[in-house]
């Protein structure tokens, strides 16, 4: 009998747990440890942030599902790792045992704890403080909508306002989510007849529009080839959205955001409402050996705090980066029974070109690991653990890097069956492969496309229901791809 412990019930961890339970015999135990009592389909937080969806529509409770499917569950958070003795210390976050610690033993460990939303990395940035908000969780998105709807009421009475949306740290990522939010806010303001009273500003650490943390991309739009920067510029100009690029936000005060741009100039913008994505980091976990010696650096990257896996972490200049640097199995090199799918793994480097401002501040997006690849990695790792359990340590493990998988980002730009719209961008691969696709900036144009229109909204709505159906493990859920 083997025991597989999954830390985190987000897209990667929940996908791993679902496949482990489906593929492993009942004699094996699958245990999920996660502080969240509800599964949340994060991409739909955008719609909570404009009041078009409620938490009931984008989340569901995990415990009843896990009970029904034979998955053990602890509402707790991992605190400390003891990889030599195969256990983690976890601390309960709710119920009678709240605050108590427990030793959780494993044969295989899947660390899918995603990012820590590192608001502290930017002075004054915290959701609900200083008029800044976030949409990174459903509770944050609810707060954002409450503040935005109050502002809309004031706009209706004649107030004029500035709204800033973008990145709240010089190295923040998740540009796609902020892009989606700014377009939805624009749509909502228009729908309510107050758009002409608002200055709407995109504030980003990207050096170019449409970089999205993946170095931008050449894509097919209809029969034409277009760069993502042109598509985003077209969208922003159509919507009268201003943009500020190469901006490293370092401080927020009540209604004021301070940032440095790549040319070394410092700026301040006053605003009435801002949604700024924080830096993402690891959770600051510690690891110890049998004798109590600190071995954190064997499990976690000292730079980002994310888990070290089978990537090539040798520092090298941008020109020498290759798809081969990216991990394939998401397996820790020192402890082969530990894996880290999704945002939890430490990337070898960014995908966008690193840049420094004239004063030496690093301003560029960290690499995104979006929902689709997180789900694929979650499944891949689960299937590999099943191989190890069934065939032993010499089992052939499968691998796929972000240089061999694609992603789809459907940035909703308005909600409504007939009035909605979305910008759909698909790319393959996520990490550009300049050897395989030398003439198309590292991407396969058969799978790298852009589309703007109502159809994208329907697509996003369909995917919302499809992925929640899958996450609820309803009949034939496993036939739905990640």
């Amino acid at each position: 009998m083997a025991r597989v412990v999954v830390l985190g019930a987000g897209i990667a961890g929940h996908t791993s747990a679902m496949y482990l339970r489906r593929l492993l015999g009942k004699e094996h135990e699958v245990l999920v440890v996660s502080p969240n009592s509800r599964y949340q389909w994060i991409p739909s937080n955008i719609w909570i942030g404009i009041g078009k969806m409620t938490r009931e529509q984008t989340t569901f409770p995990l415990e009843p599902l896990y009970k029904k499917k034979g998955i053990e569950y602890r509402q707790a958070r991992a605190v400390t790792f003891y990889p030599d003795e195969n256990y983690v210390m976890v601390e309960y976050v709710a119920g009678e045992k709240k605050g108590q610690q427990e030793k959780v033993e494993y044969d295989y460990l899947i660390n899918a704890t995603g990012p820590k939303l590192n608001f502290e990395a930017t002075e004054g940035l915290y959701p609900g403080r200083n008029r800044t908000y976030s949409v990174c969780s459903y509770t944050h998105a609810e707060e954002a909508w409450k503040a935005l709807s109050e502002l809309i009421e004031e706009l209706k009475k004649g107030k004029e306002a500035t709204i800033v949306i973008g990145m709240g740290h010089p190295k923040a990522t998740c540009q796609g989510a902020a892009f989606e939010y700014i377009l939805n806010v624009d749509h909502e303001l228009r729908r309510r007849g107050v758009r002409d009273r608002v200055r709407l500003i995109w504030l980003s650490n990207e050096a170019e529009l449409g970089d999205f943390g993946v170095d931008g991309m050449l894509m097919k739009v209809g029969r034409k080839e277009m760069h993502s920067s042109e598509l985003v510029q077209l969208v922003f100009e159509e919507r009268d959205i201003e943009w500020i690029l190469g901006a490293g936000v370092y401080k927020v005060e009540d209604g004021k955001v301070h940032f440095e741009t790549l040319d070394g100039q410092n700026h301040t913008i006053e605003f009435d409402f801002a949604m700024l994505i924080p830096a993402f980091s690891g959770h600051g976990f510690k690891a110890y050996d049998k004798d109590g010696g600190d071995i954190t650096d064997k499990l976690f990257s000292p730079k980002s705090g994310f888990m070290i896996v089978d990537a090539d972490y040798t520092p090298k200049p941008y020109e020498e980066w290759s798809v081969d640097d990216w991990p394939e199995k998401y397996q820790n090199p020192h402890y082969p029974n530990i894996f880290a799918p999704g945002i939890a793994f430490a990337p070898p480097h960014t995908i966008s070109r690193p840049r420094k401002s004239a004063s030496g501040r690093e301003i560029f997006p960290a690499p995104p690991r979006t929902g689709m690849p997180s789900g694929i990695m979650g499944r891949l790792v689960a299937e590999n653990v099943v191989r190890l359990i069934n065939e032993g340590p010499d089992a052939h493990l499968h691998g796929v890097s972000m240089g061999r998988i694609g992603a789809a980002c459907i940035a909703s730009s308005g909600y409504g069956l007939k009035s909605g719209s979305a910008i759909t961008i698909t790319m393959f691969p996520i990490v550009p492969d300049y050897r395989r696709y030398p003439d198309t900036q590292g991407r396969d144009l058969n799978y790298t496309i852009g589309h703007w229109g109502l159809a994208g909204h329907w697509m996003k709505y369909l995917l919302h229901h499809m992925f929640l159906y899958k996450a609820k493990m309803k009949p034939f859920w496993w036939m739905i791809p990640e």
């Binding site: 042109e230 510029q233 077209l234 100009e237 159509e238 394939e328 689709m372 694929i376 499944r379 891949l380 499968h398 691998g399 796929v400 061999r404 998988i405 694609g406 789809a408 007939k418 009035s419 719209s421 759909t424 698909t426 393959f428 799978y447 496309i449 589309h451 703007w452 229109g453 109502l454 159809a455 994208g456 329907w458 697509m459 791809p481 990640e482």
Partner: protein, 44 residues
């Protein structure tokens, strides 16, 4: 400088019938990407 959308492009973006065909094409594109991902993940 990016071009502004033409009147025809703006109409096509919101026309339910045209967008229905785009929806079918998008479905094809996205599901073929999902299938490609699955194939890559099982061939590595």
């Amino acid at each position: 400088m990016a071009k502004k959308l033409s009147g025809w492009q703006r109409f096509a973006m919101n026309c339910v019938i045209i967008q229905f065909f785009h929806f079918l094409i998008l479905n094809l594109k996205i599901f073929s990407l999902l299938r490609k991902n699955e194939k890559e993940a099982h061939s590595g």
